[in-house]
Amino acid sequence: MKRAAALLALLLTLAAAATPHNTPASAPPRGASAQAGAPQELAIIVNKSNPTDNLSLSELREYFLAERGHWPNGLGKVRVVMLEPGNPERDAVLRLIYDMNEKGFTSYFLGKKFRGETLEEPRQQSSPPDVIKFISYVSGAIGYVAAGEVDASVKVVRVDGLAPGDPGYKLRL
């Protein structure tokens, strides 16, 4: 038994060392240019009809993790919008808000569904303009884009009382 266990451990170690592992998608060139200069900041955006002006980072985390599924101000269900994998903004949100990698993100929401806690997974959009467009249409939506891409059709929410550009703003790419 001991010999078998030792052999098993050796085999597993060799296999683990040799097997390629799927890491989160690397950032595409689009983000590279943004990161080359001053660090870009992420803006958390909501529909203009949403009266929320400020969220703490922990509140933001609760919305993105589907721990809270409804807005407290009668706006109904929270609709989280994510960019597709491969976007640097998404990577930043996974790191700063979710504290997960891509696999953990998928597994987390599968688990939430499995436990019957939610049927809502974040919607995905392919580009920041699509995110803005979606949020401008859907009253309960919340998402993120690089601060420089925000337009007037959506509303930027402060995080811990700070807006993008303020000293100490935490959501940076």
Binding site: N47, G116, Q124, V138
Partner: protein, 598 residues
């Protein structure tokens, strides 16, 4: 001792009791196993490398049925057809149909105009009348990737939207006093009904043919896509509609303005949607394949097909949904059994109250609800013994039939949630009974379970809670036995660490005596790249004179293992258990498992 309750633990105990001495030829068995394992690992590595190479460059899309993070392709643009009809007096309908689902259109008001915008679409054959009874200046325009419909509403016009899978009807109802088309005019249009009707039917047929052609093209494209994606794991999931409920949009007419929703009044965008289609089921599968070897006398090293878990959800409305779980597995006689393990109609109006009716996983502790039949979720290959299933020697009532409610505690700190459940409880009357009383309860007393748990927002990944379960067992030929199960836990999980710690205390009162059964486990895991080694120590102690579960006895010992993720949706696990048992020899077991979701 009630024989009925003794039966199921005895099944498991019998396995453990057969371990008097290591079987002859174990060394040969393990050598063969190791060789086989090496082949399996090399094959798994090749598959993983191939999967990584086949990963599509374009990931995911805003597509119905696509789960967050699941790889899918972007949907092509939809072909949109338009038609205007005036079926009733004072009512004009604009029908928008497409060759794929229309679930993301948006409606808003800009001044006196109603705007309907359909993203990722192109318009074909717009039969849009410029003027209707309720609007003027109707336009259908291609605006980049979107189709934009706009209508200048006549004062007092009411607009509502109805639709189904790939169709939306914009229904304009003009205020009677303001309708310019009076009865005479209507009669006038009917002067030549045959000619008009014939032309209309021909046009309808032409549009239907065009729609069929578009749908056929769409089916071909989807089939191609499915073939292309056949080698990449995909996860069906519910991506529900973007909007909450259908709301009437009222034209900016002075008398009707008060009825407009706040968003419309403020000029903000309003997403209007109405679903009339039948609900659909979304499946997620979980399964596992195992190899088990032990030094238990008389046992054979065996491959084993684990559970095929068909987990399904269906949204009935914004607040109602259905959750089900069907399990197919082979028993010890190599015969397949099928069972509905969960079936719940859930009502979730807000974060504070989620009510479910049906068969559910009892909210005792953490492991039972967090990890149940989908072994892909859990780090280890096996469950802690204290949370073993009823049919496999477990002592806890892990399934129940009745009502379950949960939600946040309003205003409470630390992300406090409650759990309140009432159900039939566990069977104990006869050896022929199933442990879970799915259809008939053996007594009128119901089992209650009340619990609280906290998920403090300041410490993501931390959860702690406790629960108290009460039931009365009524085994045939014995006086009723009150049962109380107290459970508590502290768990912490994030991307790198996992720490699970739970204890359970079961109290049975019989014949003027109290019998306490205690159990706990602690498990720790750390992620290193794709591998997650883990350690678990578990302990369960049933007193030898326990009136119900004495056969279980005491068992305790460590488990070591590693989980390695072959892909995002398949994992290989290896686990070694060493279990000490009261009055029996120790038991060593090796588990190898492939667990996956699909």
């Amino acid at each position: 001792m009630p024989a009925a309750l003794r039966r199921l633990p005895a099944l498991a105990a019998a396995r453990w009791e057969r371990a008097a001495a290591p079987a002859n030829g174990m060394e040969h068995t393990f050598r063969r196993t190791a060789l086989l394992l090496l082949c399996l690992l090399l094959a798994a590595r090749a598959v993983a490398a191939q999967a990584a190479a086949d990963q599509p460059a374009v990931l995911n899309a805003d597509a119905p049925g696509a789960i967050a993070g699941a790889p899918t392709r972007r949907l092509p643009k939809r072909i949109v057809l338009l038609r205007t009809s005036e079926a009733r007096p004072a009512e004009t309908r604009v029908t928008v149909s497409a060759d794929s689902p229309l679930d993301d259109y948006a409606v808003r008001r800009e001044g006196g105009r109603l705007i309907v915008e359909i993203p990722w679409a192109s318009v074909r054959s717009p039969q849009l009348s410029a003027e209707g009874r309720a609007f003027t200046g109707a336009r259908a325009e291609q605006d980049g990737d979107s189709v934009r419909l706009s209508f200048a509403l006549r004062p007092g016009t009411n607009v509502r939207l109805a639709g189904g899978f790939n169709r939306v009807e914009i229904i304009f109802t003009a205020a009677a006093a303001l309708v310019p088309h009076d009865a005479t005019e209507t009669q006038g249009t009917n002067v030549e009904p045959r000619a008009q009707g014939g032309a209309g039917e021909a046009e309808e047929l032409r549009q239907m043919r065009a729609q069929i052609a578009a749908l056929e093209a769409r089916v071909r494209e989807l089939e191609d896509r499915r073939q292309a994606a056949a080698q990449t794991p995909s996860t069906p999931a519910a991506v529900e509609s973007a909007a909450a409920t259908a709301q009437p949009v009222v034209a900016p007419a002075q008398p009707a303005a008060a009825a407009a929703p706040p968003a419309a009044q403020s000029g903000a965008h309003t997403h209007v949607e109405d679903h009339h289609g039948a609900p659909t089921i979304q499946f997620q599968g979980f399964a596992d394949v195992n190899l088990r070897a032990s030094d238990e006398k008389g046992s054979h090293t065996s491959f084993a097909l684990g559970q095929l878990d068909l987990f399904m959800t269906s949204r009935l409305s914004e607040k109602f949904n259905v959750l089900g779980e069907l399990i197919v597995e082979a028993n010890e006689r190599n015969e397949f059994t099928f069972e509905i393990h969960r079936l719940l109609l859930q009502y979730a109006p807000n974060d504070y109250f989620h009510l479910g009716a049906g068969r559910y996983h009892t909210g005792i502790g953490y492991y039972n609800t967090a990890y149940h039949h989908g072994l892909w979720f859990q780090t280890a290959a096996t469950r802690p013994f204290i949370f073993a299933f009823e049919g496999k020697g477990g002592i806890l009532p892990l399934h129940n039939v009745g009502l379950t409610a949960t939600g946040r505690v309003p205003g409470a700190p630390f992300g406090l949630h409650y759990v309140a459940e009432v159900g039939n409880g566990r069977a104990s009357r006869s050896t022929l009974d199933s442990a879970v009383q799915t259809a008939v309860d053996e007594n009128n007393r119901k089992a209650f379970n009340l619990g609280l748990f906290a998920r403090p927002r300041s410490t993501p990944g931390l959860q702690a809670g406790f629960s108290v379960y009460r039931d009365r067992l009524t085994p045939q030929g014995f006086s009723p036995i009150p049962q109380t199960i107290s459970a508590g836990y502290v768990v912490f999980q994030n991307a790198r660490y996992e720490s699970l710690n739970e204890f359970v205390l079961m109290r049975l009162a019989s014949g003027g005596r109290v019998f306490n059964t205690s159990g706990f486990y602690t498990q720790f895991a750390r992620q290193f790249g794709g591998a997650r080694p883990f350690f678990r120590y578990q302990y369960t102690n049933v007193p030898h004179d326990n009136p119900v579960f004495a056969d279980v006895g005491r068992r305790n010992g460590p488990s070591f293992g590693v989980r390695y993720d072959l892909t995002d949706f398949a994992a290989f696990k290896a686990q070694l258990d060493h279990t000490s048992r009261r009055s029996l020899s120790s038991l060593n077991e090796l588990f190898l498992q492939l667990a996956f979701t699909f």
